[in-house]
Amino acid sequence: MSNGFFNELNEKKISRRKFIKWSGAVSAPVVLGGIATTGNMVKKAGAELAAKKADELVLTTCSTVNCGGRCLIKAHINNGVVTRLTTDTKADTFELPQLRACIRGRGYRQFVYNPDRLKYPMKRVGKRGEGKFERISWEEAIDYIAKELTRITEKYGPASRYSNYASGHSGSIIGAGNMIQRLFGLTGGYLGFHNSYSSAQTTNATPFTYGTTQTGSTLDNLSHSKMIILWGHNPVETRFGVTDFYVRKAKENGVKIVVIDPRQSDTAVALADEWIPIAPTTDAAMMDAMTHVIITENLYDKSFVDQYCVGFDENHMPDGVPEGESLKSYILGEKDGVPKTPEWAEKITRVPASTIRRLAREYATNKPSALMQGWGPQRQAYGEQFVRGGTVLAAITGNVGVKGGWASGAGYISLVKTTAVPKGDNPVGLTIPCFLWTDAIVRGTEMDAKDGVKGLAEEQDTLPVNMKAMFNLAGNTLINQHSDCNKTAEILSDESLLELIVVSEIFMTPSAKFADILLPSNTFMERWDVGTTWAPSQQAILSQKCIENMYESKSDYEWMTMLAKKLGVEQKFTEGRDELAWIKWSIEESRKTDPNFPTFEEFKKEGIYQVSLEGNSVVAFEQQIKDPKNNKFETPSGKIEIFSKALWDMNDHEEIPAIPKYISSWEGPEDPLTEKYPLQLIGWHYKRRCHSTFDNNKWLEEAGPQVMWMNERDAATRNIKDGDRVKIFNDRGEVHMPVKMTNRVIPGTIAIPQGAWWSPDKDGVDQRGNVNTLTSQRPSPLAKGNPQHTNLVEVARV
């Protein structure tokens, strides 16, 4: 380097003239008031210049998306960045199996560091649903929400405020939905919801048989069963904790496994000795036929029925019920003249009569046997009948409360209980079925107890006001997971109905397009929480914060604290705790009820609290069966209610029968609409998505492309070839997507994996393959639940 390098400038290629001319081009220093052209960088705190390369830190954590698996994720962190993910590597034993990440858990690095993540709070500028937003600061966003919320509450009252059901990254202990309802509760109350999109029908119907939904046993039971029937249950893809691990262990012990499902699911392929294809919405008919065989061939457990059941036959009926209403009389067709024989069922279910007869005999004679019900078939127009049908079969064959048996029904059980942050009470005290939120927007004031509204006071017979403010946090149920997207889109786009929609999301999902205020949410690696699984939950994992919040994202609790401050209830809302403090509080609370729940320090070090099944094996209703004297069922009659007086008193016998009956479903195989739309459509939980999360992950798209399954016969008659792009349509909507021609689905039925992001073109035709473009908003009669596997459609080449 010459001494003063400037003085050689003249000989250099860049001529002076050019410099002179150029230097005048940008005259005034371009420093704008609001724009910090400098100042984003500051002198380095602490003198050490070249940061020593910190050695790798490995933290155990887990995601808190609404996934049943809850796998252990180990984040390898190098100076503040997650560079690699691994999963559980401890010893893998029968009592304490490893919680290995499935295909979804493997793609989390692309989830956290995806460039398409929402980064800044945004305000809608175009029409609602148009998807035009501009960046605003957090203060602006919180001010706007506070101002609007107060205005709406004053104008319409607190009952117009609603926080939507969410199946996304909704957290658990300190979940977004609970926290906003806590905040609403402190500022006048809100319209709450009951049920869920996963299990509305089974949560409502099971108690009418057993008085509770806790009908599940620990999975080590399965190794003692002689036979397992997985009815519409596909744990391999839906990931109910480590169910597939235990079902495999059972299979190794020679247990016969039968899967009944319109699709030959991955569970049927890997675990089942036999797959029985059945037409959707007809499961109850097959159950009735099986009951017919069990009764007529005297295979039922007489003593069990006498001692523990009500409503089996005429002399086990509660009083005040006319003749011929018992299970036996219905099955033998004494009143309606139609005996529910396997031949009768064959025409409805398409299952050969001989198969029904054989299965019934096998199930009744091989004791104990486990009839495990999946949540798919209960998500139908008359899903309640399927649920109670399963419980009745388990009862009359005496498989309830015995090791190796299974009480069927909802099947909830959790060995590990965690305490969530309390929601506090809700002065408004009203809840609606979560599936009817669109009705609450358009005709809220007409919704009464018949619509499933709970908590109505004496003088109140309907909801006081339509829904006006919607908080859709960490969920895609605003449009993607809710039925009938086109109709929902219309309702949302009408700005006179909902006056405020706040969405907090990680990505730009179809629901986020309808936001007025769009808040960037952080991911599980940037916040604290504790994760558990769906039933049977055998473990809790500390969802540790591994990295700082990305961009300007915040966890829902963080921005709600700002909102609470703005609304003047910060102290009551936070009780002086931040997110981590609440987790520590929750752990202490859990330790009160479960002494060997680890302390926060142990939990942080260990990362996981897993209850070994050794000595903790639970069999549902074991006490009620062993010692019925002082262990009654929680039903009105204290017994298993095959005939439910409570249902009878609702006297809507056609839609809500007192005993489980097959009801020919609207848009079912016998609906006259089949002339126009001959094919039945069902959805299924796809292994590459957790509801709609991960739909934008390209690795998972390669592993599981979004294709519709169609039987080769149905495709041939419509001259469709494998891989063609087809249109699937009915009166509610139209979807264009590629088809996979396969015999792994029963003829007459097609299947679309649920959860793909709704991508309508300009005339509302979905181009991605969202099954909810075609599903109906007509709720099931008892639970008012979502009937998303009850659809009739037609398919044609595009």
């Binding site: 290995r100 493997r106 299979k251 690795w699 029963i746």
Partner: protein, 190 residues
């Protein structure tokens, strides 16, 4: 160390592809480059007797990476000698200094193991996660299988433990390259 090999319990493979994505995550592979692949094999048909449906649909999944064969045709056919079989544990590797990206090994491998990487312009393949093994860990795919259906180890041990079936329906005949692979066949794959 003796010749390494894989064991797959075909009977329990659910086709969930956790192994495929775990391998991609570990090797940072692009879409389209899969060192481990899961193939679905489905046959059989329906008989409709008036309204009833009788089926004999037989489906199973097979997870295959590279079987580091005894006499690998990819090594035999490779013009540059880039594809070579390591002495110490018989793992077949690609030497990127020699590989010319002619893709001839793709046509020679019965199991689709060589995966061409457009960006690199060279062939890449399963290397048995020798770095993880030497660090005492399991290969990415073995540790990822929810059904515990993939194991690895010296091939003789695997054969002693699980027999020496390496031919099932849908898989090319093992006589071609003598794969170091032991399979417990799915009931539909025999």
């Amino acid at each position: 160390m003796a010749q390494l090999g894989f064991y797959i319990n075909n009977d329990y493979c659910t086709g969930c592809k956790a192994c495929v994505v775990a391998c991609k995550d570990k090797n940072d592979n692009e879409v389209g480059v899969n060192f481990r692949r899961v193939y679905e094999h489905s046959e059989g048909d329906y008989v409709e007797r008036d309204h009833a449906v009788i089926q004999n649909i037989q489906t199973f999944f097979t997870s295959i990476s590279c079987n580091h064969c005894e006499n690998p045709k990819c090594v035999e056919g490779c013009p540059t000698g880039a594809m070579y079989k390591r002495e110490e544990d018989g793992v077949v590797l690609v030497d990127h200094d020699k590989c010319v990206g002619c893709k001839y090994c793709v046509w020679n491998c019965p199991y689709g193991a060589p995966q061409y990487n457009e960006v690199l312009g060279k062939m890449t393949k399963c290397d048995f996660c020798i770095d993880l093994i030497s660090a005492g860990e399991n290969p990415a795919c073995v540790g990822s299988c929810p059904m515990r259906a993939i194991e690895y180890g010296p091939i003789e041990e695997l054969r002693a433990k699980y027999g020496n079936v390496s031919d099932i329906k849908g898989l090319p005949n093992s006589s071609i390259t003598k794969p170091n692979l032991v399979i417990t066949a799915h009931r539909n794959a025999k």
